[in-house]
Symmetry: C3
Subunit: 340 residues, 3 copies
């Protein structure tokens, strides 16, 4: 896909300084710019790159325009270059990944209700009483179990699996291989072995949620596992049965949240963290990567460590942990002195 400076200026409500007919077909960072690419000036510290970049077009915020523009590449002046750049990227991404229509073969139950302007990729499976709303894209080999509802403008990646009875809101993204609604891990120990506790609840994913690839979000035993609106989950994340993740919480890859734990709003959780079951994590908590959280956490706390404690406290203790051999020899010296 090719775009002229003039077309781009139209899209972002900008003004061209330089050649409006220059063409770009890809994007670059300003320091790695190559001819035929669009870039942006990200802030003051990048200003030196402006005269050296080989990018053909630079998006620039209005308060960064240099006095002398004669030797510079074509610029498009906007209010906020970073915001306009991201807007263009989203536009480009939408164009690039746009798919529509129903490929062949697919399996669609007669009782399924499909909205307008859908994409349903080949080999995807849509069960009984499924409802899929307008402009949603179901990529190839996805599985949508019986009674599932999916909102508008969603993206369900290739091979994603949504088990029966789950619901997904509007503008959600579920990447490839993620499993929504698998059975929670519930077994009753008997003398002769473990007996399965049936997992009869579902998963509710609210609006504007993004879930990465190969995650597992288990259905509730009874009731619902709930992912509130605006939550963003990275890849390979485990969300156990009856967990609730509050609005606008972000979770990095490979983190696991055990059963029935409730996580607040605007929480940030690093990668590979583990949160034990039946806990309450407050709002705007920060949990560092690999931490092991084993107790409730109040709002605004920052945690670190295994087991996780206050962030600064763990860091201080770890400094002395590294020094333990020295501390022990100081202790020994004292003992020797006292023995004498």
């Amino acid at each position: 896909m090719e775009f002229s400076a003039e077309q781009i200026a139209d899209l972002v409500n900008g003004i061209v300084i330089g050649d409006p007919t220059v063409i770009v077909s890809y994007i670059s960072k300003i320091e790695d710019g190559t001819p035929g690419t669009l870039t942006f000036l990200g802030g003051e510290k990048y200003q030196n790159y402006l005269k050296d970049t080989k990018a053909s077009i630079v998006l620039i915020s209005e308060n960064f325009i240099p006095k002398d523009t004669s030797e510079l590449p074509t610029m498009i002046v906007v209010k906020d270059a970073y915001a306009s750049f991201n807007q263009l990227l989203r536009y480009y991404n939408d164009l690039r990944t746009h798919k529509t229509g129903i490929e062949d073969p697919v399996f669609i139950s007669k009782s399924a209700i499909l909205g307008q302007d859908l994409y349903v990729g080949a080999f995807s499976y849509i069960g009984n009483n499924v409802k899929i709303n307008d402009h949603t894209k179901i990529f190839p080999q996805a599985y949508i179990g019986d009674n599932v509802t999916i909102g508008e403008n969603c993206y369900i990646g290739p091979g994603a699996k949504i088990y029966n009875d789950c619901t997904i809101g509007n503008r959600c993204v579920i990447h490839a291989g993620t499993v929504v609604g698998g059975d929670g891990f519930g077994f009753e120990p008997l003398a002769e072995g473990y007996q399965k506790v049936p997992q009869l609840g579902n998963v509710i994913i609210e609006d504007d949620v993004e879930v990465g690839s190969n995650c597992t979000i288990d259905r509730a035993t009874i009731g619902s596992t709930i992912i509130r609106k605006g939550v963003k989950l990275d890849n390979l994340i485990q969300v156990a049965h009856n967990v609730e993740i509050g609005e606008h919480t972000v979770v990095a890859a490979q983190t696991g949240i055990a059963g029935s734990t409730k996580i607040g709003n605007w929480v940030m959780i690093g990668g590979q963290a583990g949160i034990a079951g039946h806990l309450k994590i407050g709002d705007r908590v920060i949990i560092q990567g690999q931490s092991g959280v084993m107790a409730d956490v109040e709002n605004h706390k920052r945690l670190f460590g295994y087991p996780a404690i206050d962030y600064l406290k763990y860091q201080k203790s770890f400094i002395y942990f590294k020094d333990l051999p020295k501390l022990v020899s100081r202790l020994k010296k004292i003992e020797e002195k006292l023995d004498k």
Copy 2:
């Protein structure tokens, strides 16, 4: 699906106190009961909820029947309310997820041998010489490689992948996206790079095993990776080549077990634990979540920490770890005293 109190009493061999015609269509916890739901009285501490619950039917153990039942919802009296409730849930779950027949299109090799009363979902693949026994359900997009044998009454979830030559026992559940029999991670370092050591063994999964979603259980280099009967694995678990997991061992999500390690019977392993290769873990061992086990473990031990040591020992040491800054200032004070 709707059930009357009378129908339910029949299923669990119970006696109705109240209206035998009252209808329920879902389940609830006694404290969250809503009209049209069935619940159960879980024990003495829940007895207060009995008169307040809005559930339409309450399963109740015979020794908990109140004297005055005039103001109470319809009750069904059984020996053990919890056991009967779970029995009903399993019955309901079986009804709800029951599928049968072979959907279209599927790929089934002519040399495959299929039992009675199977479900084979659309887009599933059944290779050469595969044998699938009666009443087993293969969900859509599952892959069953050449020479695989699957027992009776199994559930193979959507998109699960069973590589060639593996065997799965009776009454096993393999959830969506799990890969059984991928190559073990074996490479020989040469000057010019790593050379693959072919992985020619298989995976044997015995009876009554449940494996969650998106797990990876690698085939043995030679011989078999073995999951003994009654084992329950949660989601996103890694089982490396030539591992053996003993009977009735349960493993929580995201745990990894490295190559050739043998784990005993009735072991409990928490989430995100890591167990190094070539170890022997005894029977009834408990390994806390996120522990890193780097040595053999005797029967009945409980481990914690990274590296994992005795559970109580780690906890005690961690108490002082948190206090290290104070301990160091005590040490300093002593040194100052002695210097004077």
Copy 3:
């Protein structure tokens, strides 16, 4: 498949001592040998097994031939028994997993360019402008997005997903369920919630790379996430956007590498390790399992711990960590002495 001692000797350029017509159909370890299997003598310490093994054929290095061979099984004498054994295993594995042709149904875009001697399994999806080179095997239910290029002699496992615009070199193995090119985890925080930063780059996998099952390798925001030639990744590994992994680096299962981190050549990373974002890890570094790397690492360093520090330093400190209760009581005794 059956092979005679003579056939095997031909394949490995060896000399038969014993019966050249004896037949084997599988392999065994020398200590577990059964009739009808081929094994090898791995080194001096296994020599005692030679006369006891029930294996029908033993590969033996020329400097290990016993004087009296009368009571021994048929032997095939080669230069290096282990190397020849592995060569045979690769040969056997190739025979056993060999598939060719295009099964039905598949979805292949008219604009895709397919090489010679391919296998394309049923229900696999090949998008627009895809190029797949000779002798590559695409297993059932794999997804190859638009504009993807795959080299020669590759193996793409069942249900693997390669998103649009990614490229894969020659002789690569991508196991089942792995997702290459999912969106990187990039969001901009706004007052009303997180806004997605479009992920427009791709993933480049060079020659001779092997990736295990259910891994996730995210596409770059801009530019490429790069897996250099000869890299071997185990299962369930997370590689974030814009990461670069150097040549011949091996990574064990469940490790995660955060965004934009560059890892050197010939690095060895244990299982469940976590490496923070924007770091530079040198060449031939060794990172122990479960370590949490939070800073740049120089060439040849060996790291351990959470947070990760020098391997030996962590081990020494951990010895005293285990002793902390004792150290504290020594401290207390000193204080009491001084108080008197």
